[in-house]
């Protein structure tokens, strides 16, 4: 019986997800324990329950139906993203919140899933091949449209996640190394440009070398390098026009200790919280950094500090291991899946979750830029939690249908 169930039910993804959600709820309870914000905990608990149902529903929708609905879902979310840009409300400097009455959410959370599914559904068509430039451009456009809509909000973090999802997807789809390098090099040059002119030049030289190493023909190298230079230059212009808080976040990332009471405050306090946790932590509800609110709005992007401080290295490393196991499991589902749609979608979902996890925890530990990205299953926020749980539902679905062609 159990063996039979194991065949069709992805226990591993299910339990990892449930465990992470429970740890997340405990962390939110702790982070909002003494500041009359307990409402946050109850709301998150309700969303978790809703997410749990949606996860199971998603897990049991027939694969073909999913595949067919992908485009409709994709265009629907695109439409919502446009509406958000026009009528959405501004939260923390981004026009990303869409609400009717008391119910609302961040459409960008769902746009990530829709984009991955649409990408996979398009490539799963029998006549589509990435070796054709036309098809390659269409797949890139599937990503580019929501990316630019989200960047326009502006939501830098989600845009980065899109990139972090696109690259493994293309790689998994079998795109040539040159194309990957051609996408990577502009990013490299752009990051270099952020640091300064010298770094910009070094990145450009490095990028040119990489392009030459994986060259197909000289013309392609020249075009790709031209694009990279253009991106690098425009980054500097964009930087000038960026929101002050985003500029600050970038400068703070380059040197977080430079402004310990301003922009770098969160990171400094977050590191203190995690560092002071030690091996076993200060105990549930007994972390001084957490309980005394040294980390502003800790229950959103800095929820990882709660685990670090109150549960110590044992707790925090368990969380990291669970996330790592989920990422590897996603990769395994993609490998096992015999149909293109499931396999590619699994990779995309794994990419989204992994990117979020690495950037968020890295940020809390001071080795990643502070770019408002929630920690999957843990950070406070209904849209993200439900979207993340639905992604796990999708993974479970692909696992159950892995033998389908």
């Amino acid at each position: 019986m159990l063996h039979y169930m194991k065949e069709y039910f992805d226990f591993r993804a299910f339990f990892i997800c449930v465990l992470l959600v429970i740890i997340g709820l405990l962390s939110i309870y702790s982070a909002t324990f003494d500041i009359n914000n307990a409402a946050n905990f109850y709301r998150q608990a309700i969303w978790a329950a809703l997410g749990f149902i949606l996860m199971l529903v998603t897990a049991f929708i027939p694969l073909r139906t999913l595949q067919r609905l992908s485009f409709a879902f994709y265009f629907f979310t695109l439409a919502v993203l446009v509406i958000v840009l026009v009528v959405g409300s501004t939260v923390k400097g981004s026009k990303s919140w869409f609400g009717i009455g008391g119910i609302g959410g961040q459409p960008s959370e769902f746009a990530k899933i829709a984009t991955v599914l649409a990408f996979a559904a398009y490539l799963a068509r029998t006549n589509v091949s990435l070796s054709q430039v036309k098809h390659l451009i269409i797949t890139l456009c599937i990503f580019a449209v929501p990316m630019f809509l989200i960047l326009a909000e502006p939501d830098l973090g989600t845009t980065i996640v899109f990139f972090a999802t696109l690259l493994p997807l293309l790689y998994w789809a079998g795109v040539s190394n040159f194309i990957l390098v051609a996408i990577l090099v502009p990013i490299l040059v752009a990051v270099g440009a952020l640091f300064g002119t010298a770094q910009f030049i070094i990145a450009s030289v490095l990028g040119a070398s990489l392009l030459y190493l994986f060259r197909v023909n000289r013309f392609a190298v020249a075009v790709a390098f031209g694009i990279a230079l253009a991106v690098g230059l425009s980054v500097q212009i964009v930087y000038e026009h960026m929101h002050l808080y985003q500029q600050k976040r970038i400068t703070t990332f380059l040197n977080p200790e430079s402004d310990p009471l301003g922009a770098g405050y969160n990171v400094v306090q977050s590191k203190i919280a995690i560092g002071s946790g030690g091996l076993t932590g200060k105990g549930f509800l007994r972390g001084t950094q957490t309980q005394l609110n040294y980390i502003p709005e800790q229950w959103t992007d800095f929820i990882f500090c709660v685990q670090g401080e109150e549960f110590g290295f044992l707790g925090a490393s368990l969380v990291l291991c669970l996330f790592g196991a989920l990422s590897l499991h996603g990769l395994r589902v993609a490998t096992m899946s015999k149909n293109k749609f499931g396999s590619l979608s699994a990779i995309g979902i794994t990419g989204i979750l992994t990117a979020h996890t690495i950037i968020n925890t890295g940020m809390a530990m001071g080795i990643m830029p502070v770019i408002g990205l929630p920690l999957p299953f843990m950070s406070y926020g209904g849209s993200a939690l439900i979207a993340n749980m639905m992604m796990v539902g999708l993974l479970m679905n692909f696992y159950a249908n892995r033998k389908e062609y």
Partner: protein, 613 residues
């Protein structure tokens, strides 16, 4: 372009696996680094963030008089404090208006506090009234870093003044801080004069510490670990004084119209029964906060109320010195009780004439003391010489500090051959310089305290005592009284000699023709001696020393009144009343119902006293 590979090629799976594993291993290494490698460092930072130490001021030790009456009490005083690190300077105008203090003054206090530590609270305003405290408390939520603390301040339940004896406490100065070291912090109260200063280490007690958690806004959240790590403050030790508070108050009232000093000692152990220096000030001016105006007023007053005349003034002793000369002459065998001199009203030495007030006729030593015959002592001093005078003067405690415990005192000046050589030059002074010394004039400089000690040794028959105001200390740790030992030694005068001297002193008071009749106590025989210190700058200073009862003395006294004229008419009655009051006693005065009465002017004080008489 390359050929498209099958989706999910094994080589690509390997690469992605490696990327994921590497990324998570990196995160785990970073986590390890933060939580296990830099754990101590971050733990410390976390504590600095959220733990504040609150100093709990101890209750300062009390002072009780010899009859167990509470003389110096300790009550709560509320101080407004500001922690520089958490203070938001934007709230300075609001804060300034609440505590009614100028912003620059607050800023200056904060800047001074920051030098020591920006995390320790600075006392910005001490001893605020309840209205101010309530106003600040109501607005605490918008004043990060502001708090109040309970300190103690001195309360004087009786309307006793005795400021020079009891002393006062003041905010520690930078100089005191350098000397005292780590036990004190800026803004601490320290005993700065009198017994408060001498017994500071006992009275002070030990500070306690409370550890509290504060949130990121610096607001109090609660006790750290339920207060388990707190260190309670330890009360200061209590002092049991030898002083009789009723006597002290009477003495103060009697001295109210004079400038001068009064010291009454227990001739059996050297305990100070009363010590008055006038003019004085109300010690409660120094309890709580002392305003700059009050301090400046006291400090610049031409009558020098801060100056302890009882221990610090130096005046010639006048005729009170005659007992010392007589004792030296008798003890050295230079004269005996039958030795007589005829007083003609004047004494010629060389080409100088030294006058007497009366023509006394034939006098022996006892009669000479009784009548204060100058001629007798002009001749006697020449017989005993400067070296004998210096020898006995030293034995009698002159020219040296007495070792009293109320703070500063003068050693006075005792003339000797060396002293004269130094002042006038060797060989440039003659025996004629000595003659005036015979009646205690010119250079001989003695404090009222030394004089009281002299009176006490005459009372007890020749034992020089170390005067002291504290008999014992209640050690709060052992809950036992630690009795303080005081030195005493014999002055080496035979009892037969002492008997003659004392008989002379008895006659001064009790017999007709004695100069101290005005010190007479109804129903009790006493002994004494008047003195008048010549003052080249104005009216003479009046002295009286005495003791009672004559046979078994319980009190010895010295009174000095500046510019009051003859000792017999001004100083003797004061001494007599004080001794009478001590020997007969009276009902203990009731504690004053107004603990904070700030009475600079003496008349209110006096009226209270006289009502009780």
């Amino acid at each position: 372009m390359n050929t498209i590979e099958e989706i999910g090629a094994p080589s690509r799976k390997r690469v992605l696996t490696i990327i994921i594993v590497t990324a998570f291993v990196f995160l785990l290494i970073r986590l390890y680094q933060l939580q296990l490698f830099y754990h101590v460092e971050f733990g410390k930072k976390s504590d600095e963030n959220s733990v504040r130490t609150i100093i709990k001021e101890p209750v300062r030790g009390y002072m009780f008089d010899r009859n167990g009456r509470l003389v110096v009490d300790d009550g709560p005083a509320y101080s407004i404090t500001v922690t520089p690190a958490s203070f938001n300077s934007g709230t300075l105008p609001l804060f300034s208006s609440l505590v009614r203090m100028e912003s620059p003054m607050i800023q200056e206090r904060l800047d001074r506090g920051r030098i020591y530590s920006k995390f320790s609270p600075v006392r910005v305003k001490r001893d605020v009234d309840f209205k101010t405290l309530a106003a600040v408390e109501e607005n605490l939520y918008q004043l990060p870093g502001v708090a109040y603390e309970i300190e103690s301040k001195r309360i004087y339940p009786f309307q006793v003044r005795a400021p020079h004896l009891l002393g006062y406490c003041k905010e520690i100065t930078d100089a005191q801080m350098l000397k005292a070291g780590s036990a004190y912090q800026q803004g601490d109260i320290i005993g700065s004069s009198g017994l408060e200063a001498s017994y500071e280490t006992f009275l002070r007690g030990e500070k306690g510490y409370e550890f509290i958690s504060v949130n990121s806004k610096g607001q109090l959240v609660g006790a750290l670990e339920g207060g388990l790590r707190d260190v309670p403050s330890k009360e200061g030790f209590d002092l049991n004084l030898s002083v009789d508070i009723g006597l002290q108050m009477l003495a103060e009232s009697l001295m109210v119209n004079y400038r001068g000093a009064l010291v009454a000692l227990d001739p059996n152990d050297g305990g100070v029964l009363a010590m008055v220096s006038k003019p004085d000030f109300d010690p409660s001016l120094f309890s709580g906060v002392t305003s700059v105006e009050v301090w400046n007023q006291l400090n610049t007053d031409p009558d020098k109320p801060l100056f302890n005349r009882a221990t610090m003034t130096r005046y010639p002793p006048g005729s009170t010195f005659k007992m010392l000369i007589a004792a030296a002459a008798l003890q050295e065998g230079i004269i005996d009780e039958h030795y007589r001199i005829t007083c003609t009203g004047a004494f010629r030495f060389g080409n100088k004439v030294f006058k007497d007030l009366h023509v006394h006729g034939s006098m022996n030593v006892v009669e000479a003391i009784q009548h204060s015959c100058n001629v007798f002592f002009y001749q006697l001093i020449l017989k005993i010489g400067i070296d004998n005078l210096a020898k006995y003067g030293k034995r009698f405690g002159f020219g040296q500090p007495s070792g009293i415990d109320v703070g500063e005192e003068t050693a006075g000046i005792l003339p000797s051959t060396e002293y004269y050589n130094r002042v006038y030059g060797k060989g440039k002074w003659t025996q004629g310089y000595l003659v005036s010394l015979g009646v205690g004039q010119v250079v001989k400089k003695i404090s009222p305290l030394q004089m009281a000690r002299y009176a006490a040794l005459l009372a007890n028959g020749g034992t020089l005592l170390q005067p002291h105001a504290v008999n014992s200390i209640l050690n709060k740790r052992t809950n036992r009284y630690d009795v303080i030992d005081h030195s005493e030694h014999s002055v080496g005068i035979d009892s037969s000699v002492m008997r003659l001297i004392r008989e002379g002193m008895r006659r001064v008071v009790q017999e007709p023709g004695g100069t101290g009749g005005m010190a007479r106590i109804p129903g009790i025989v006493s002994g004494g001696k008047t003195g008048t210190a010549e003052n080249p700058h104005g009216a003479d200073h009046a002295w009286y020393i005495g003791f009672a009862p004559f046979d078994h003395p319980k009190i010895a006294i010295a009174v000095m009144l500046e510019n009051a004229g003859f000792g017999g008419t001004k100083a003797a009655p004061v001494a007599g009343k004080v001794m009478e009051r001590y020997l007969f006693g009276d009902l203990p005065p009731k504690p004053n119902s107004r603990p904070h009465a700030i009475a600079l002017n003496d008349s209110t004080h006096q009226s209270t006293i006289s009502r009780k008489q």
